[in-house]
Subunit: 95 residues, 2 copies
DNA sequence: ATAAATAAGTTTATATTATAAACTACATTA
DNA sequence: TAATGTAGTTTATAATATAAACTTATTTAT
């Protein structure tokens, strides 16, 4: 029997974890804000946001501001739960 | 400027993290013991142990017992430091 | 008016990584 | 001596992360 619970592979990724961590601390965040905070490239960020969204961990709203596209992200209840479960599982690995 | 320090990719891996976590809590551990505790396949374990060893995070000793190969692993000082740095960096992601 | 630069992303191609399947070597048992 | 088990290693493949190239639209300069 293993001492180690599996770690949600969707969260066990540096960038996605950073995104989720950010989103936990705010009501919502814009693409460009997340990009600055995580120092990710736009392409990478776009892909990872899609994955989190597909999993139902975040909600993405696309609109326009000043005639420019505006992508706004928000963590979901499911995302919060998944994050908490991940942190809890991770603790066994960190002693 | 980023709020998130990079996570050592060698440690940010479920299996390698489990291996390091195990090795932190014992003087040394045998291949088969680590295999049972982590529930990894022998192939995967072999590869990941090699990576940790190449990085200088663990030391691997190969011998024989009862005429059978015996692989024994031990965490190094460098490995302990790396693990501690990883945990410290990770904390910023977990709030 | 049109060419160049900027902004906000997305899509796609590539490099890296994780993982298991297949294999090796040797010992034991039927 | 043929099959089974033990303890791994090597290699092939699947999955993942990442950046480069691209798209669409806007603003600014010529």
């Amino acid at each position: 029997m293993s001492d180690f619970k599996p770690l949600d592979p969707l969260l066990h990724s540096q960038l996605r974890l950073a995104i989720m961590s950010l989103l936990l601390s705010v009501k919502s965040a814009e693409f460009t804000f997340i990009k600055e905070k995580t120092e990710a490239t736009a392409g990478n960020l776009s892909v990872q946001l899609d994955k989190l969204s597909s999993a139902g961990y975040i909600e993405i709203e696309k609109s326009f501001r000043d005639k420019k596209p505006l992508t706004t992200c928000k963590i979901t209840k499911k995302g919060v739960s998944a994050f908490e479960a991940y942190v809890s599982a991770l603790k066994d690995y960190l002693n």
